[in-house]
């Protein structure tokens, strides 16, 4: 075993990259759940985003357009979920599970011709000055644009939810949809918006796996990342700041255990593989969860 083979700077740098897919997907789901909707289809929307990302970036030759296509793919899939649960009043849990199964199948179909193709390279931003900083430069300022977009979105969502009128209305809809309706707020419309934002974010997260992390298309390549995103939303108590912590923790332990595996640590690989899940759950549970939105997962019907 050779622990000196692990470079701590490289480890911290790759932590940010490894966390980004889950961070993006979880952030979208956080907004959806704060609006009172439980969409269990995150995994399906992520894998569809991963396939759409490969398709669009290969066809256009531009990774950014690939991400845009992935967001669109995830958004369309979530639109389907919104129509079923908000207009046709279907059960959210069952519909979300169906969405995951549907997404897995759809992405396999879409990606058939693209197995093995390498997507166009996604350039890293070399931020002038900052990237030349001694330690921090290597850790934090030599990543690609999506890493920073993810961080920016966390800040934007936090600001939106806690500081803006629209965010207050969205929280109100999630807290008590009957009262929000009685005050004249368009519950269904607001939830449509939130669900589609969640879909687009999940699509971006999926595309980050297929365009940057791997980067190529394989069937079922998200491998449960969507479920981890869902769990992180709950354990983070529906708060964006803690969500960032949870996602980085998960990404960090993932990277660490891969490095430990490579270094030949004398612990069975299975234990190392499960460590990110265990560590994330333990830490976020110890931090004590927040209160879930009052109307989460309930079907709203303006019957009275």
């Amino acid at each position: 075993m050779d622990l000196t083979a692990i470079d701590p700077l490289l480890l911290l740098a790759s932590l940010m990259v490894a966390s980004t897919p889950i961070l993006l997907a979880a952030l979208g789901e956080l907004v959806v759940e704060r609006a009172g909707v439980l969409n269990l289809g995150v995994e399906g929307m992520m894998i569809t985003g991963a396939a759409c990302g490969i398709i669009f970036s290969t066809l256009t030759g531009n990774a950014w357009l690939g991400f845009a296509g992935a967001a669109l793919g995830g958004l369309l899939l979530s639109f389907l979920f919104a129509v079923l649960t908000q207009l046709l009043l279907s059960n959210q849990v069952a519909t979300g599970l169906a969405l995951t199964l549907f997404g897995l199948g759809l992405s396999a179909l879409l990606g058939q011709g693209f197995a093995g193709t390498r997507p166009p390279a996604f350039p890293k931003l070399d931020i002038p000055l900052l990237s030349n900083l001694p330690v921090m430069g290597q850790i934090a300022f030599r990543h690609d644009g999506m890493v920073y977009l993810g961080l920016g979105l966390v800040a934007a969502v936090w600001y939106f939810l806690t500081r803006t009128r629209a965010g207050l209305v969205l929280r109100a809809v999630g807290e008590n949809h009957d009262a929000a309706h009685a005050l004249g707020y368009p519950v269904v419309l607001i939830r449509f918006g939130a669900i589609m934002f969640g879909g687009a974010c999940a699509g971006l997260g999926g595309a980050y796996i297929s365009l940057v992390r791997v980067p190529q298309w394989t069937e079922g390549m998200t491998a449960g990342a969507g479920w981890i995103a869902l769990a992180i939303v709950v354990f983070a108590g529906w708060k964006p700041g803690r969500l960032l912590l949870g996602a980085y923790l998960f990404g960090g332990v993932t990277v660490l255990q891969l490095n430990l595996q490579a270094a030949g640590l004398a612990i069975p690989v299975e234990y190392l593989s499960m460590s990110p899940y265990v560590a994330t759950i333990i830490v976020l549970v110890v931090l004590a969860a927040g209160r879930k939105p009052g109307s989460l997962g309930q079907t709203f019907h303006a019957s009275r």
Binding site: L168, R171, E175, A179, L183
Partner: protein
């Protein structure tokens, strides 16, 4: 009065199978307190929802200040100067007072300015309120203040209040009335919905009485008696429950220093409750909602286990026993929430009868349900308690509130319990059904059952109870004989007004 603020002419609204409002006309002048009276289902709520833009009438016209008025949604109504305080509070538990107020306004100022304005208005009208508190932690009276202040901040021309006093102590009601009189003096019209007739006589200038969706009369509530108004509402004479007071028997139920944390978030823990209930006695427990009523029922019914000695039945410790074991020993309970707690909404009346009655009515044999026996039991309840339903195969959800309440109370009474505990037995039930339920409870007591009635309706408690005790912040006062107790004394027992003060003359 010459001026008219709001005029309704020929308003009609029909839902499938029922006409909620039929050709309703009324006029409200500025500075007038106008009462809207009627039984449940008389169409009061539908009518005010039409004014507030939540319901679109099928025909008829509304005029506000002489202009045609047809609000498409509550925002349009608020913009026109109409605000509403809802019967079931339209508040968000997890949000702060200021955020809740902001949600009810069209263009709220930044939260910091809004907090200052909330403090101003709450001082001016004698309704103290801290804008930063989380609404879920407030008492019922304080929650109502949030709603009222939300309305006042918009300088309304018309304030609609839907059953505002049902959750308040008598002192809090008096303070509310002071606030409303002050608003009236400032020229604000108030449309006041209630079925508490004495309050209407104390507060209102005119009353419009609805029955089955139609206006059946107008009156000046200061000039007619409460009984006359009640009979206009019901459309007949009202039967007042009565019973002969029997001799009191042995102590059946004992609560001994009962303390327990609340199982619910934002709930009230029970604190050191000690009381005895004798055979044939009705103990009335009054109190404002959220002072531990639900928790007390859970502790008595067995849904919440407590230390064995804290609850005793005929001297036997039963605090640790679950509901069915308590039923077997003779303690039955009927909780407040009909749909989802007292009855399973999507199961038939027969199934609901079997769920509660299986132990005492021997409806389970060798692990199999005796459906014939369950159906007989359900049919007996329906016959004896005049439950209006086509038959026991209907689901609980299909019954109206009053009928289902008669069913769930009747189900427990017909199990001939030694001790019966009921919470809000006539909540949301119309006057004649309420009278029938109260009579049934009193008949049961006359046969030697110890009865505990938890209710927020003080008139009800005073009518049927032998002894009265008040529940305040999870503590129970010492019981006092109900006869001869005045409403002021009751109010003081309830803890009086929770840090409320009468409006300053001119603050």
């Amino acid at each position: 009065m010459t001026e008219t603020l709001l005029a309704l002419a020929g308003l009609t609204k029909a839902y499938p199978g029922v006409i909620a409002n039929n050709d309703v006309s009324l006029e409200i002048a500025p500075g007038e307190v106008h009462a809207l009276l009627g039984e449940n289902g008389a169409g009061k709520s539908t009518l005010v929802k039409a004014i507030y833009g939540l319901v679109k009438p099928d025909s008829g016209a509304m005029h506000l200040d002489g202009q045609p008025f047809a609000p498409a949604d509550p925002k349009a109504a608020r913009a026109a100067g109409i605000t509403m305080v809802f019967q079931h509070f339209s508040l968000f538990d997890a949000l702060s007072v200021a955020e809740n107020v902001a949600l009810g306004m069209e263009r709220p100022p930044p939260l910091r300015d809004l907090s200052a304005r909330i403090r101003d208005v709450s001082d001016q009208y004698g309704l103290p309120l801290d804008p930063t508190r989380i609404v879920g932690d407030l008492s019922a009276g304080e929650r109502q203040r949030v709603e009222i202040i939300r309305c006042l901040l918009q300088d309304p021309k018309l304030l609609i209040m839907d059953e505002p006093t049902s959750v308040l102590t008598p002192q809090e009601v008096e303070i509310l009335f002071e606030t409303l009189r002050k608003l009236k003096a400032e020229g604000t019209a108030i449309l006041y919905i209630s079925h508490k007739l004495e309050e209407i006589r104390a507060l209102c200038d005119t009353a419009t009485i609805l029955r089955l969706g139609e206006v059946v009369g107008d009156c000046d509530p200061r000039e007619v008696s409460a009984r006359e108004m009640a009979e206009m509402m019901v459309g007949g004479t009202l039967h007042v429950p009565e019973r002969e007071a029997g001799p009191e028997g042995a102590v059946l139920l004992t609560l001994d220093h009962l303390s327990a944390p609340s199982p619910q978030e934002f709930g009230t823990p029970l604190r050191d409750i000690s009381v005895e209930v004798r055979a044939g006695q009705v103990l009335g427990i009054g109190g404002v909602a959220g002072n531990g009523q639900d928790e007390l029922l859970l502790a008595l019914s067995g849904e919440m286990a407590v230390a064995p000695d804290m609850v005793r039945l005929r001297g036997q410790a039963i605090g640790h026993l679950p509901p069915n074991a308590r039923r077997a020993l003779g303690l039955c309970a009927a909780p407040e929430e009909r749909l989802g707690h007292a009855a399973a909404p999507d199961m038939t009346l027969t199934e609901n009868a079997a769920l509660s009655g299986k132990t005492r009515k021997n409806l389970v044999r060798n692990g199999l349900v005796d459906w014939g026996g369950a159906r007989d039991f359900a049919t007996t309840i329906i016959d004896r308690f005049d439950v209006r339903t086509p038959g026991p195969e209907n689901v609980a959800r299909s019954l109206s509130g009053g009928n289902l309440q008669k069913y769930v109370i009747g189900r427990e009474i017909l199990q001939a319990p030694d001790v019966l505990v009921v919470n809000q037995p006539t909540w949301g039930v119309d006057a004649s059904a309420a009278a029938a339920i109260r009579q049934a409870i009193m008949d049961l007591a006359a046969e030697g059952t110890a009865v505990v009635v938890i209710s927020q309706d003080l008139d009800e408690v005073m009518e049927i109870a032998d002894a009265f005790a008040a529940l305040n912040a999870g503590r129970l006062s010492a019981p006092r004989p109900a006869r001869g107790l005045t409403i002021e004394e009751v109010g003081l027992m309830l803890g009086g007004a929770h840090d409320m003060e009468v409006a300053h003359a001119e603050a």
